[in-house]
Symmetry: D3
Subunit: 200 residues, 6 copies
Amino acid sequence: MTVSPQPAISRFPVPALADMPDDVRARLLAIQEKSGFIPNVFLVLAHRPDEFRAFFAYHDALMDKPGNLSKAEREMIVVATSSANQCQYCVIAHGAILRIRAKNPLIADQVAVNYRKADITPRQKAMLAFAMKVCTDSAAIGDADFAALREHGFTDEDAWDIAGITALFGLSNRMANFTSMRPNDEFYLMGRVPKPAKAG
Amino acid sequence: MTVSPQPAISRFPVPALADMPDDVRARLLAIQEKSGFIPNVFLVLAHRPDEFRAFFAYHDALMDKPGNLSKAEREMIVVATSSANQCQYCVIAHGAILRIRAKNPLIADQVAVNYRKADITPRQKAMLAFAMKVCTDSAAIGDADFAALREHGFTDEDAWDIAGITALFGLSNRMANFTSMRPNDEFYLMGRVPKPAKAG
Amino acid sequence: MTVSPQPAISRFPVPALADMPDDVRARLLAIQEKSGFIPNVFLVLAHRPDEFRAFFAYHDALMDKPGNLSKAEREMIVVATSSANQCQYCVIAHGAILRIRAKNPLIADQVAVNYRKADITPRQKAMLAFAMKVCTDSAAIGDADFAALREHGFTDEDAWDIAGITALFGLSNRMANFTSMRPNDEFYLMGRVPKPAKAG
Amino acid sequence: MTVSPQPAISRFPVPALADMPDDVRARLLAIQEKSGFIPNVFLVLAHRPDEFRAFFAYHDALMDKPGNLSKAEREMIVVATSSANQCQYCVIAHGAILRIRAKNPLIADQVAVNYRKADITPRQKAMLAFAMKVCTDSAAIGDADFAALREHGFTDEDAWDIAGITALFGLSNRMANFTSMRPNDEFYLMGRVPKPAKAG
Amino acid sequence: MTVSPQPAISRFPVPALADMPDDVRARLLAIQEKSGFIPNVFLVLAHRPDEFRAFFAYHDALMDKPGNLSKAEREMIVVATSSANQCQYCVIAHGAILRIRAKNPLIADQVAVNYRKADITPRQKAMLAFAMKVCTDSAAIGDADFAALREHGFTDEDAWDIAGITALFGLSNRMANFTSMRPNDEFYLMGRVPKPAKAG
Amino acid sequence: MTVSPQPAISRFPVPALADMPDDVRARLLAIQEKSGFIPNVFLVLAHRPDEFRAFFAYHDALMDKPGNLSKAEREMIVVATSSANQCQYCVIAHGAILRIRAKNPLIADQVAVNYRKADITPRQKAMLAFAMKVCTDSAAIGDADFAALREHGFTDEDAWDIAGITALFGLSNRMANFTSMRPNDEFYLMGRVPKPAKAG
């Protein structure tokens, strides 16, 4: 089995760093500094700087805000949503982030295939059941769905967080599928191998 | 049949104008100035200013940008997508905008029920067929779908516009369904009655 | 956007009034007298007089009979069913009738997009939930569905009315979709603008 | 395995022959004279004489009219439609009629399970493919579907016959499912055993 | 209606008895001895002896083992599963076996079309509801489904039997559909006509 | 996030090695010898030795036989099928085997999420498209599907291999979902990290 040496990361042109607006390039360089590489979603969406800025503003508003959902739980929602939408980029990239946030090398694959059987709490399963209804049948959401969340201690603001993350990544999944966005090779192994303890 | 005098426009608290951040309030006052009323989506989303800003930045980036899709065509995509997602707010509010943009009092209801039978061109039907695939089965989009668009003269940048609008309103539909966002009464009649010619 | 001056109302030949059997023509003239125009369903189905007679006999047996369902409620069932079947003619024509029967300019669009969020009573929502099960999954109807109706005061005869209307308009929707039956322009605005009170 | 001695044939009251309107009773007696028993659909629908009359008028207009579709072909449409709608009464009763009309003891079970593998002609498979689209996705019917029929020699009037039969039995299936209409025991064996040739 | 004189029983070559491995031929001769004919599934699968042996070993392990499910109940599961998968061979062949095992000429057609309305016990309906979930949505099976079985007296081992039969015939249905396996004509009438009592 | 120290690998009792029949235990010890651990599917299915033997005989007949499909291609079919059926055990365990067989650390996650975008050949995508039709809509398989395979050089015997593997793992997926079979922790990392070249 051979893979072409440099597979395209998008159906669309990907701008060179030098050709990007300053603020877009700055975000890419910052993430590269932090992660060691630039996740392809930044490069692919940089083709349209205004949409890039809006998407990441929305992302930060939901993923970096304070709230009752842990960072790992937010990534669980992303992975489950992206799997329901069969989005290769997001399942693989956010699977990596989920493993790191949860400090659990098994959880992302479990949630991607069938969250009902994942090593997560009943509360987290209720969270994902709500997310899946937003993802696939939002017109039918009603009082009973909010009540089911409250039974697990979720507030209505938490419900908004869950719905918002699901809705935003539904957008992201459609754009990634549409552009044939390719996940970076780096994501596949991230968070799977525990880091060795530092020597004293 | 009686309707409660002031039905809620959201499951969530709606901030008073005085309590909104200045930029959010400014946007609402501007739209009120222009339209004569504040569409409820602005009030409902103002509950979360950061998400509000990101959503409307994304909206403007796609709906106000130059491009080959007419304003009416962009609204057709919104109406067809919102109908597929059974979003009451967006079908009714953007149906009104579509009637006005297209100067056609019939088109919104036609597109909402079955775009294949609407009074639109074959090119517009191809545009909506692509949008519906992004909406309901984006993982299966492939070369043949882009080729079908090109046969009708759409460029790949037009395809991005179609996909982007579909994806953004998929987000909007899920948030509107989740919050039980209520369409303003004003929308139902807008664009249905031709304005009388001005007297000389 | 231009619309062809006289769009076809059917894929099939539409008989001239003069060429119709007397009883069929009489029904059309009577409705014209009453409504001011002939709804296209009468013209399109007149292509087959025997089926025309049977269809309207069935229609009258369900829609004009006495019973616990109000006229407006029967039209709600028609609109919800026709929306589920994506029937442009019936959603638009019966949407008009629903607005008139309910004396409510908003209700038809609400029921067409998502009856769960319409300005209707819990009893009416239960009625439409039953209708939707007849429409999309009749093989699974069982005792629990009848019990749910009874909780809202519906008798078994009311259930027959609901099921019968749903089933008949399922037939009508399929024929309208198949013939590409076009709604009359008149329907779009009917019932949307309150009539001015008569001067004293 | 025991079966209750006289299982109900309907959830609803079934009128005694003596209590039926004369024309309804006359039809039942005529069919009893001809068939040796009264198919339960006549008894169950007689609960509502006006709907009974309309249903059978519609039935006769489509099933007894002259046309290019043979009697057996019309019953194939009924069986395929009723199987798609999981209607026990209609699959079993019209399966019997199909066997008799086609003089083929195997065909009904084949069509009920998967018409694509039945001992029927390619023309008949095209007919049933069209019927299945009317049954399950009528909003998507377009020129290509009519063209596919024409390739097999079907006229547009034949298409109306196919669509009409599919739509009418869609109604019938929903009413039979809703009423829990029970097929007569007689139907199961009809047309399965060839009649012995009469002695000279 | 004409049927080709000797319709193929498979898309694939069917080996002659003389060319089969001894153990495969022995099984075919034994069944022929017992039933009076060789069911086509044996002939079609004999094209691949190793898979033949594994399939029938699996079959015997589930269908011939002792357990709380009666032989007739096991065949109900096969018929319901095969109908859900639209497998002509299995619905018709196992419908025959079900009639014989249950000594009931009506039951197979009832279960094939809609088990919810069949002349079976509530316990058997619960059994088939569980089987249908294994058949169509196994990823969602959870504690509640096992609890529903226990309410009807089924043990967890019974649940395994139900699931195993459903899963094995899901395999069989796919292979029969894939090979266009044709049911033997003999099956259609088997078990429909009660055998005359033997003379004293 | 904490995981219970020894999560169950099955809803059902798992026999001790000492309590298994000799042939079953021998197979487990052989796989343990080769792989360094016993995959849980062997332990879970050993609860029923006769079904165990039949399942693995079927498995070997399809997965170990000579043929035109490479070992990696067979595992691609397993992973795609198991993902369509949301089977956690099989996606994770056979994902590991696919990585090893294909000597490609990325391929399994790609195929699991969306095979259309995986780093595989057009021939392999055609193979998986056929497998997915066997998996989800086998009743509609017809000549055109075989023709599509032949265009890529697949013989009809290859088609049988594809269908057989898909059907067998459809069975396996349902049993794994039903038993809540847990993947061994070892699988998650297998084949992801290239082995270091041996020193000279």
